[in-house]
């Protein structure tokens, strides 16, 4: 087993902190968002979530047998994430956006850049890069999702899980995923895979920060 997870944490720490300390993120975590901005964020998230499994599938199809453990990991992950875009849709309905409006929403250029990069990286760069996407999204969900959901709930006076079910449930669920992700990342032994994961995590942090910034 390698210690790659520890290396990934260190090498992407600045990007994580750049996300965490972006003024828009700071303000959102401290004070929540207006309902209009929260709707916009969820609409963008809908597309990120909708494309998550196809990106994982593209990566799984391109992985060599040398990385079969990553392929199995992605299969399981896809199974767990399947249908989660409907959770986002339900939250959107709770804050006044119909399912039809959600599906008709055209994602921002920043969301397209994130999703487009992840397809390209899985297809043309290195399929292990999908793990960099997973790392970024799970860090954002498990570390920042809880405080962010609490701030949104306070700001919009939402009751229970209504309107925040996707973010709140992923804050808890992805906590378990983080431990699984660490284990699979530590099975990677080759430098090409390490570099692909680090690059992907850095780019996903960058694009995700831009998505939030534009909300």
């Amino acid at each position: 087993m390698s210690m790659f997870f520890a290396d990934l944490v260190v090498r992407t720490d600045e990007a994580r902190r750049a996300f965490e300390t972006h003024p828009v993120v700071l303000d959102a975590v401290a004070h929540g968002l207006t309902v209009e901005r929260y709707r916009t964020l969820l609409l963008e998230l809908y597309h990120v979530v909708w494309h998550f499994n196809p990106v994982c599938a593209a990566a799984a199809s391109r992985l060599s047998d040398r990385h079969r453990q990553v392929r199995y990991f992605l299969y399981e992950h896809m199974q767990e994430e399947s249908g989660h875009e409907q959770w986002v849709q339900a939250d959107l309905e709770a804050v006044g956006v119909s399912a039809a409006a959600t599906e008709a929403h055209a994602p921002s250029p920043f969301t397209r850049a994130l999703v487009g990069y992840n397809y390209w990286a899985a297809d043309r760069r290195d399929p292990c890069s999908a793990l960099g996407m997973l790392y970024t999204l799970e860090v954002i969900a498990s570390v920042y999702g809880g405080p962010f959901a609490a701030a949104i709930k306070d700001a919009l006076l939402l009751e229970g899980e209504r309107g925040i079910s996707f973010i709140n449930s992923h804050a808890t669920m992805d906590a378990e995923h983080m431990a699984d992700l660490r284990k699979i990342l530590n099975t990677l032994e080759d430098e090409a895979a390490w570099e692909a994961v680090v690059e992907s995590a850095l780019i996903n942090f960058h694009h995700f920060t831009r998505i939030i910034e534009a909300v």
């Binding site: 520890a6 944490v9 720490d13 300390t21 003024p23 860090v139 405080p147 808890t172 992700l181 660490r182």
Partner: protein, 325 residues
């Protein structure tokens, strides 16, 4: 390399989170930390600080006085990077937690032996300093607090303990009972309370901290060799070993892995309060700690379940009644 030629090397590095100033007549290096907007010991901030200390060590005789302060208004240091802790705990990554802890105690260890390197160390605290922030202050030879600054070890509130030198450094300066009270209560202390406990050497009115630094440095400089020899001997009289610091860090990392979702949510509450303060709000982590203590105290009153059982060592409501002790 002679001492003077080391100055450009020391000052020319492109630091992102530190601001360095050099006063040649006193051979004084001022280091101002600015891990904005959340002033804490981030991995990058730790790396930069270690680089400064390594540069000083590689140029013996160059720096006679090292002075640390914060460039962030109202905050000296919030301590550990809470978001990083949450990430590592959720990933159950004990190795990275230990690595983070080792980086912290390497700084403490350097400061512990600064006198042996010919460097007198002074720190000015002008705002809140919590957990690892307070641990990083204690090894300095001279600790100056402005009167409104508050400090404490809140880790126990979320089921952890300060693991980077709090126990031995506090015991050595203030005694076992004070260390016990501070670490196990999670209470915050005012500058004057810390002065009475001998953890702080000088308390000055707000705004007078800069003058206090110059007073200390000008007083020490003419008798530097004797002072440093005495301070070296002082630390030999009550030694702290690297091995004990390391063992404690390992215990700290293993304890961190046992944090529950409730504990992590409390940690997130503090992190969110830090964010509010960074965003310009009047209230931050210190006020949130008080609220957590009150919540705990109300819980104890409702259930009759008190940890300490008497007012002298009590947490929460009883502790705030004792602010003037």
């Amino acid at each position: 390399m002679n001492a003077v030629s080391g100055v450009p090397q020391l000052l020319s590095r492109p630091y992102k989170y530190l601001r360095l100033e050099w006063t040649s007549e006193l051979a004084m290096l001022r280091v101002r930390t600015c891990v904005k907007p959340i002033q804490c010991y981030s991995l990058a901030g730790l790396t930069e600080m270690q680089r400064v200390l390594d540069d000083i060590a590689q140029n013996p005789g160059l720096v006679r006085h090292l002075v640390l302060s914060s460039d962030v208004t109202g905050v000296f240091n919030f301590g550990g990077d809470l978001a990083l802790f949450v990430l590592l705990v959720r990933a159950q990554d004990v190795d990275s937690l230990k690595m983070y802890g080792r980086r912290c105690i390497d700084l403490v260890w350097w400061l512990e032996h600064a006198a042996r390197r010919g460097v007198h160390t002074t720190v000015l605290v002008q705002g809140d300093t919590l957990g690892g922030g307070l641990e990083s202050v204690l090894p300095f030879h001279k600790v100056i607090f402005e009167r409104s600054a508050q400090a404490g070890f809140p880790e126990v509130l979320f089921n952890l303990f300060p693991g980077m030198g709090a126990w031995p450094l506090t015991i050595r300066k203030a005694g076992f009972a004070v260390a016990n009270d501070m670490v196990l209560s999670g209470r915050l202390f005012t500058a004057d309370q810390l002065l009475r406990r001998s953890l702080v050497d000088v308390v000055v009115d707000d705004g007078d901290g800069e003058n206090a630094i110059w007073d200390v440095v000008r007083m020490v400089d003419p008798r530097l060799r004797g002072t440093l020899a005495a301070l070296h001997a002082q630390r030999m009289a009550a030694p702290i070993t690297y091995e004990s610091l390391l063992t404690t860090v390992e215990m700290w990392a293993e304890t961190a892995l046992t944090l529950t979702t409730r504990d992590l949510r409390l940690m997130e509450r503090l992190a969110r309060a830090q964010v509010r303060k960074a965003g310009g709000a009047d209230e931050g982590a210190v006020e949130e700690i008080k609220r957590i203590e009150l919540d705990t105290a109300w819980g104890e009153l409702r259930t009759g379940n008190t940890v300490w059982g008497d007012a002298e060592h009590g947490t929460g409501l009883t502790a705030w009644g004792a602010l003037n002790d």
